[in-house]
């Protein structure tokens, strides 16, 4: 790189970055190139990345593109990054006439509608370049090997920059400049069925219907094959030796053919799937089932047809094993399907919140319309007990609305004219008329559903390990099976042929990678859903994993630890009562626009007081306000001003000190020469902040606060909220520096802020928590969004994250232990010691049980309760 280049700040155009989480990903992608990733400026609004001087823009563009955000260089004459993926970014940018000066920013193109796709013959079908990618419903995927085969097939399609398969809900997504038909073709040729998910909601319903149907079919198939298997076993053991001789040869040949028929009808799908995978140099769970049951059947048929070709001891048939294995695996899949359905309960509950109709007032007429017909600006009437159909602003009436389903906040919230209301919430009492502001897929509820679904499909890094292993797993098992057969042939006792077949079949059957494939996605799905129940929306799968490792939580002060708006905290009156003092203060403050004045007026309204009559109002900057009341001068202001006016404020020193100690501002009230009292105004600490911080401490997490406030105020807040450490007088833009410093010291840092002015700090932290009140919070602004204003959301999310990661570990451990113990036992390792040889039937049952165990363990997470809930419940029980 030349010296000129070293001084130039290069700018890149990006696509698909929608939030601060994406900005964080981009910074992480550039970490190997820059000394401090905070120096990389990511502008989400303009979709640009400005690199610090001296960074190779081509390399940076390549890394950003690989991170999933197609990038191109803007300030170097639109030179395009020379990576394969980035060149695709150019191709879709060229659709906007590629003139970097006029249209410097490659806008993320959303997937065009069907009609567009049909009109565009070149695109062939839906073309995509957005971050969410094309969503596909995939059929035929059964195990971890399928996941890697599907991702491999999708990535092999030209134009795909990122592909991801979620086995838990059988959906795949691919992003990049690609036609959906090409993706479907790739998946079909890899042996899977695929269709584009146009409408995720109807796709969900369709999938549920298909799952129910498949569940029934699997049970029928299971019943048929198990009946045959058990029948053969009973007959073989009770009435026949299952060893071929001249007397039973014909019967067994016929029974073999019957078994073949049953295998084809009830287990045909294993064989077709195995063949399709094999033809594409892939192997999956079906390969093992097909090989195992196929080997047992072929061997048995050879024994039945040519018994004399084998030694007498080896003339045993295993038809019952083939039938029973297929039956047991069908049973396992049916149980798995049922348990899988339960994991998406959280989303289903959210979907159920949607109202079907709305009572719309148009032209003075009230009419019930379908929710799809409601337009922005419509006036909607909601009666007590009804669900709100769309988002809007209250225009008439007041009520209390239960928002718990969206925010986790249990108390109904008062709503009056001008307040925002959200779709899916429940009107408790009172009838209101409100104006629709967001309808259809724009409502907060729809966004939350989208977000939860997306996060549920995410794969944290822990899951990628399982994928890597499973991609080489099945062929490795095949090698082990052949090796075991050879070992039995060379070292085993007679009948060696029978032992070879049994060992190979058992190894193939027991080695089920389905548990491995389900271990991570199942737990993630339940964990994300559980977090949503507690009002914590996890936007990135990675955040779910990282949140559990957090050992330092940095809190923003205003709006996070504190309520975010000043309120009257203390009133000390020397003369008269406190309410009279407030009424006098309100008389002055009703003329003022100062935030402290609002705090006093709010208190006065709450107490339904009448402000005192004031004439000649005057505002004295840096001092206070003054006016005439009953012929005397009424003053409200700081200590120094009143002292300068010759008033003695010392009797109130102690009260003023107490206000200051609690991070408040003391406002002295004086009438004429008499000092009447002092009013403390402070941004009060939220009632549950201290308890939430205590929970973080109990979890072994250090808590720190950053604020722009002066040292004394910060210190006071920390003391009363129980915060360990603080940084005061920090400018909003420097908060990310504090986060960075703490990360460099080795902490895994969570930053909790309001998601708007703390955005850079949220993006810099390992996990950013955006905290908001109600549904107004911008849910796109951090990795985790807390829907209710309470800080309890942070320990809740951390506890859920820890429980989820623990659950994933248990699942992976179970899957690995199962395979590492099962395979050697199946191969016959225990035979030399104790003469134990595993039956292929037991192997089939064990294989089914392994995946059922994983799914059941993941479902256990649904019962998880955070320590806050448990404590609350026990308190309630104590009170009863």
């Amino acid at each position: 790189m030349d010296s000129t280049a070293a001084n130039i700040k290069n700018r890149l155009g990006i696509a698909g970055a929608t939030c601060q989480g994406c900005a964080h990903k981009i910074r992480v992608a550039l970490e190997p190139l820059v000394t401090d990733s905070a120096m990389v400026e990511v502008n989400i609004e303009q979709q640009t990345v400005t690199l610090p001087p001296g960074i190779d823009p081509t390399d940076a563009a390549r890394r950003i593109t690989e991170a999933g955000f197609p990038a191109q260089i803007l300030d170097a004459g639109s030179t395009v990054a020379k990576s394969g993926c980035a060149s695709k970014a150019t191709s879709f940018c060229s659709g906007e006439k590629g003139d970097a000066d006029e249209a410097p920013v490659p806008k993320p193109a959303s997937a065009p509608s069907d009609s567009n796709a049909n009109n565009d013959s070149n695109a062939n079908n839906t073309s995509n370049a957005n971050n969410d990618g094309i969503q596909l419903a995939v059929t035929g995927a059964t195990c971890a090997s399928c996941v890697s085969s599907i991702e491999k097939a999708l990535k092999s399609v030209s134009g795909v920059t990122h592909a991801h398969m979620n086995l838990a809900d059988n959906t795949a997504s691919a992003s990049g400049q690609v036609a959906s038909q090409a993706l479907i073709n790739a998946l079909e040729s890899a042996g899977y069925g695929a269709s584009v998910i146009e409408d995720p909601d109807s796709a969900d319903e369709r999938r549920q219907q298909q799952d129910r149907k498949r569940h029934r079919t699997l049970l029928v198939k299971m019943a048929i094959s198990l009946s045959l298997g058990v029948g053969l076993m009973i007959w073989g053991m009770g009435f026949d030796s299952m060893t071929i001789d001249a007397g039973n040869q014909t019967i067994w040949i016929n029974l073999g053919l019957l078994t073949l028929g049953v295998m084809i009808t009830t287990g045909g799908h294993f064989f077709t799937s195995a063949w399709k995978a094999f033809a594409h140099h892939n192997a999956n769970m079906d390969t093992l089932v097909a090989l195992g049951t196929g080997t047992a059947w072929v061997y048995s048929m050879v024994v039945a047809v040519f018994p004399e070709a084998l030694p007498e001891m080896a003339r045993h048939v295993y038809f019952e094993a083939s039938a029973m294995i297929i039956g047991l695996i069908n049973l396992g899949q049916a149980l798995e399907l049922r348990a899988k359905g339960k994991t998406s309960e959280a989303v289903r509950r959210l979907l159920d919140l949607r109202a079907r109709t709305a009572r719309v007032i148009r032209d003075g007429q009230e009419q019930d319309l379908l929710i799809e017909q409601v337009r922005k600006g419509d006036q909607i009437r909601v009666r007590p007990g009804e669900q709100l159909p769309v988002d809007g602003i209250v225009r008439e009436g007041n009520t209390r609305i239960d928002e718990s389903m969206l925010t986790g906040e249990p108390m109904p919230v008062s709503k009056a004219e001008g307040d925002n209301v959200s779709a899916g919430t429940l009107n408790n009492r009172g009838s209101i008329v409100y104006e629709a502001t967001r309808v259809g897929s724009d409502t907060a509820l729809a966004q939350i559903i989208r977000l939860v679904k997306k996060a549920q499909g995410a794969k944290p890094s822990i899951g990628r390990l399982a994928d890597k292993i499973s991609s080489v797993f099945v062929p490795s098992v095949m090698l082990i099976a052949i090796a075991a057969a050879l070992a039995w042939y060379n070292l085993g006792p007679d009948p060696v042929v029978a032992h070879m077949m049994v060992a190979a079949t058992t190894v193939l059957i027991i080695a089920c990678p389905c548990a491995l494939g389900l271990a991570t996605p199942m737990s993630v799905m339940v964990g994300v859903g559980k977090a949503a129940e507690y009002g914590a929306l996890i936007r990135q799968g990675e955040a779910l994993q990282t949140a559990g490792k957090i050992n330092l939580v940095i809190l923003d002060k205003t709006g996070t630890v504190t309520v975010g708006k000043p309120a009257v905290t203390q009133v000390h009156a020397v003369e008269g009562d406190e309410l009279h003092l407030l009424a006098l203060a309100a008389g002055l403050e009703q003329h003022s626009e100062h935030p402290l004045a609002h705090a006093i007026m709010e208190k006065v309204w709450q107490n339904k007081l009448q402000p005192a009559d004031i004439t000649g109002f005057d505002s004295l900057s840096g001092k206070g306000v003054a006016g005439q009341h009953n012929g005397d001068t009424l003053r409200l202001g700081n200590r120094r001003w009143l002292a300068d006016e010759g008033l003695d404020v010392t009797p109130l020193d102690q009260a003023a000190q107490s206000i200051t100690d609690n991070a408040g501002t003391p406002l002295f009230v004086a009438l004429g020469t008499r000092v009447l009292g002092v009013i403390g105004v402070a941004d009060a600490i939220k009632p549950d902040s201290r308890a939430a911080i205590e929970r973080l401490h109990q979890a072994g997490i250090k808590v720190m606060m950053v604020t722009g406030d002066v040292d004394a105020a910060a210190k006071a807040i920390c003391a009363s909220a129980g915060i360990d450490d603080y940084r005061a007088e920090v400018l909003p833009e420097d908060k990310s520096e504090v986060v960075n410093d703490m990360r460099k010291k080795g902490y895994t840092v969570a930053m909790v802020g309001d998601g708007i002015n703390d955005a850079p700090a949220l993006a810099t932290a390992d996990v950013g928590f955006a905290i908001g009140t109600g549904t107004d919070v911008a849910i796109e602004s951090a990795a985790i969004t807390l829907m209710r204003g309470s800080l309890h959301g942070v320990p809740d999310a951390i506890e859920i994250s820890r429980a989820t990661v623990k659950n994933i570990h248990q699942n992976l451990f179970g899957a690995f232990v199962y395979n590492s113990l099962g395979i050697p036992i199946a191969a016959g390792l225990l035979y030399p010691l104790w003469g134990i040889v595993l039956s292929p039937i037991i192997a089939g049952a064990a294989m089914s049980m392994s995946s059922v165990t994983v799914v059941t363990n993941a479902n256990r997470l649904r019962l998880f309760k955070t320590s806050h809930t448990i404590n609350n419940r026990s308190r309630q029980e104590l009170n009863q």
Binding site: A153, K155, S156, V157, S158, A186, S189, A190, F278, H280, H281, N282, A283, V472, V474, P475, M478, L479, I482, A483, A485, L486, Y489, N490
Partner: protein
Amino acid sequence: MTFFLVNLTGLALMAAVVWWFWLAPTDPKTQR
């Protein structure tokens, strides 16, 4: 003779698995 044949077949099968799943070129149509 059978001893050699069986072992040879086993080894050949193992080699075929390694070749087919790891070494053989995949379908050029789906090559990246």
